[in-house]
């Protein structure tokens, strides 16, 4: 018993030593997990690709693990297992802001750093949040695309993921604000949901086109929804009459961009975002990042931290001209 106590004391002494010796912190190998909303989705795979590349440079033992379906409960199970396995940093894009929060708070209490990216969790449940792109910029990019191809008096339908998806609602809020401010004649005729499922999104897209024949544009700010909307337009032969825009990875929409159904679709560089996530994870683990701060990452640029939020980049708009440069 005594020897155990001694070992524990020694270990904690060593730990605290490591804590006050930041000069060597970069040398210390850390374990960082990346938890996507679900595994097997290409946008998240693109994050993983960038993260793996960055992890090598940053002396990070990297793990990519997520639930099979887009369920927050599945993410909680995984967070719990990562706590038990003593990871140093958990990075996560959450299926919803509330459910994973208690588990993440538990992790933070045990000294694990939490970095959310893409879709945020409750602010108390993470150290930093990497926002893909500023919400107003994303909303502007989508509305501008509608205005350019369907005109300033377009009748717009919205096809989103779920009624309570945090990021989609933030974008749609920005869409509405920008639309009423700049194109008052543009109207939103309906809002429907495809639950991020390709088949449900397709049938929701068909519903929209059949129920509202005067719709000239669909804004679908979700990977599955944009593909579903474009597929519905193609299926009903409305190419050239209905334009689709939204947020999706280039691989999924390439075909529809070439068909002319999607003319301009904003997103951001998911691979580079994965790199940034790992860099922030490293900085957080080394306690080198303050809630309001700036930092520079070689090859990515300089970023500002404002109230623990880091905006990753301006929207990257995919068009027929540039889409073949991007593969993810």
């Amino acid at each position: 018993m005594k020897s155990i106590t001694k070992t524990l004391l020694l270990a904690s002494a060593l730990c605290s030593l490591a804590g006050i010796a930041p000069a060597h912190a970069q040398d210390k190998r850390i374990k960082v997990a990346m938890v996507p909303k679900l595994i097997g989705l290409s946008v998240f795979k693109a994050n993983e690709k960038g993260a793996i590349a960055a992890a090598k440079k940053l002396n990070i033992q990297f793990l990519y693990t997520g639930p099979v379906t887009a369920s927050a409960q599945g993410q909680v199970d995984i967070i719990n297992s990562l706590i038990a396995r003593r990871f140093n940093v958990i990075t996560i894009t959450s299926n919803n802001p509330t459910q994973p929060a208690p588990a993440l708070e538990r992790a933070m209490k045990q000294g694990i750093k939490v970095v959310s990216y893409d879709s945020d969790v409750a602010p108390d449940a993470r150290d930093f949040f990497i926002q893909n792109t500023s919400y107003p910029a994303m909303g502007k990019a989508m509305v501008d695309s509608v205005e350019q191809y369907a005109g300033p008096d377009a009748k717009v339908a919205i096809l989103s993921s779920t009624p309570d998806a945090a990021i989609q609602n933030a974008w749609l809020g920005a869409v509405k604000t920008y639309m009423t401010a700049h194109f008052p004649k543009m109207t939103i005729v309906t809002t429907q949901y495809g639950e991020s499922s390709p088949s449900k999104s397709l049938s929701a897209g068909l519903n929209i086109l059949q129920a509202y024949p005067d719709v000239t544009a669909i804004i679908a700010p979700d990977g599955a929804a944009e593909v579903g909307a474009a597929a519905a337009v193609k299926k009903l032969g409305r190419t050239g009459k209905v334009f689709v825009t939204g947020a999706s990875d280039p691989d999924s929409i390439r075909q529809y961009v070439k068909d002319g159904i999607i003319k301009a679709s904003p997103l951001w560089n998911e691979v580079k975002e994965g790199e940034l996530v790992m860099n922030v994870a490293r900085l957080a683990a080394d306690n080198k990042l303050k809630p309001n701060d700036t930092f520079t990452v070689k090859g990515l640029g300089t970023y500002a931290v404002k109230n623990k939020v880091i905006v990753f980049s301006k929207p990257l708009v995919f068009t027929a001209a540039n889409i073949d440069q991007y593969h993810f």
Partner: protein, 338 residues
């Protein structure tokens, strides 16, 4: 009843598997044994499945199925949250009302099944769609969350520092249901209806009334699971119950309850819950991905149903054939003139 593989043998096998799993995980997986209390706390992560499984076991014992448990769990939890957040009701009172609503939803399932003569599979599938839609509509764009510390005790709390509240409730409920099934007339009628519905009918059992009660019990337990989940996550969502159904069915079947009804007990289901839960959490802590654990859950469901059917002493199971063979040998071996 003459059984090739008596229930006790099944239960005993499960108990041995559970102990073997615990010993193996504690010694082989770093991080699984986190002190006595730490390891017990793992049960918080899967016991909501167990609450559903126990209610579902009663339905399956009658030869029925309840596919709406996940939807009832979500809807009851959402109603509870709205009653307390928008209605200003005390959370505990709201929780009790949600339990009653869960029982009513289950009872409605029973009405559809017995009065409208709809197969349980189809009836509860249909009501699950309805209940889910209502839950989604009620929850709206920002489902309620944040129910306060005292309510969190239900899902995360411990008594005497190490004993999880969920585990204590689960043990209490399991004992209660075990007594209900084995020691009361109601429980025996449930098993009898499952074993042979016609025989039960001719023996004077009011089958429709019994089934309605059974589905109400399942609805009640589903609502209970929903409330515990709400406490555990400190949030409700209209889809939070979705994942409960398939795992709960697997737990029931692994626990030795025949999917055709009339066979099995609550002790087995309790062991099934613990085995599947510990296995999944242990594998996640060991670093296997969710994909592997989900695949394994499917495999366990298949193997346990197949084992049950093959070894069954009913119909054409290998167990029954083997029994007949042994019996006929015995008769041959007995000399005719004694």
């Amino acid at each position: 009843m003459n059984r090739f593989l008596p229930r006790h043998a099944w239960d005993r096998t499960l108990a041995i598997i559970l102990i073997a799993l615990l010993v193996a995980f504690c010694t082989l997986i770093p991080g699984f044994y986190a002190g006595f209390g730490g390891t017990l706390a793992i049960t918080d992560q899967f016991l909501p499945f167990g609450f559903v499984a126990i209610g579902l076991a009663v339905v399956i014992l009658t030869g029925g199925i309840d596919l709406s448990v996940g939807a009832i769990a979500s809807l009851s939890a959402v109603i509870m949250a709205i009653l307390t957040k928008s209605g200003g009701l005390d959370i505990w009172l709201a929780a009790v009302l949600a339990l009653i609503i869960g029982a009513i939803l289950g009872w409605l399932n029973g009405i559809v099944i017995t009065s409208l003569r709809v197969e349980p599979l189809i009836a509860t599938l249909a009501t699950s769609f309805i209940y889910t839609s209502v839950a989604t509509a009620l929850a709206g764009a920002s489902p309620p969350y944040g129910f306060g510390k005292p309510f969190g005790v239900l899902g995360n709390g411990t008594i005497a520092l190490v004993l999880p509240v969920q585990l204590l409730m689960f043990i209490g409920i399991a004992i209660g249901f075990s007594i209900l099934i084995t020691r009361t007339g109601f429980g025996r009628r449930i098993v009898m209806v499952g074993y042979n519905r016609d025989a039960a009918h001719y023996a004077g059992v009011a089958v429709p009334g019994l089934l309605r009660k059974v589905y109400a019990i399942s609805g009640f337990m589903a609502a209970f699971a929903g409330i515990v989940l709400a406490s555990y996550y400190d949030a409700v969502r209209p889809d939070m119950g979705n994942i409960l159904l398939l795992t709960a069915i697997t737990m029931v079947v692994l626990g030795g309850v025949s999917i055709f009804g009339g066979e099995g007990g609550i002790l087995g289901v309790t062991l099934g819950v613990l085995i599947l839960g510990v296995l999944r959490q242990g594998m996640l802590i060991a670093g296997f991905s969710d994909m592997v654990t989900t695949m394994l859950t499917g495999a366990i469901l298949l193997v346990s149903i197949a084992a049950k059917n093959l070894l069954s002493d009913r119909g054409f199971g290998y167990g029954a054939l083997l029994l007949r063979l042994i019996n006929s040998r015995k008769q041959e071996a007995t000399p005719p003139n004694t």
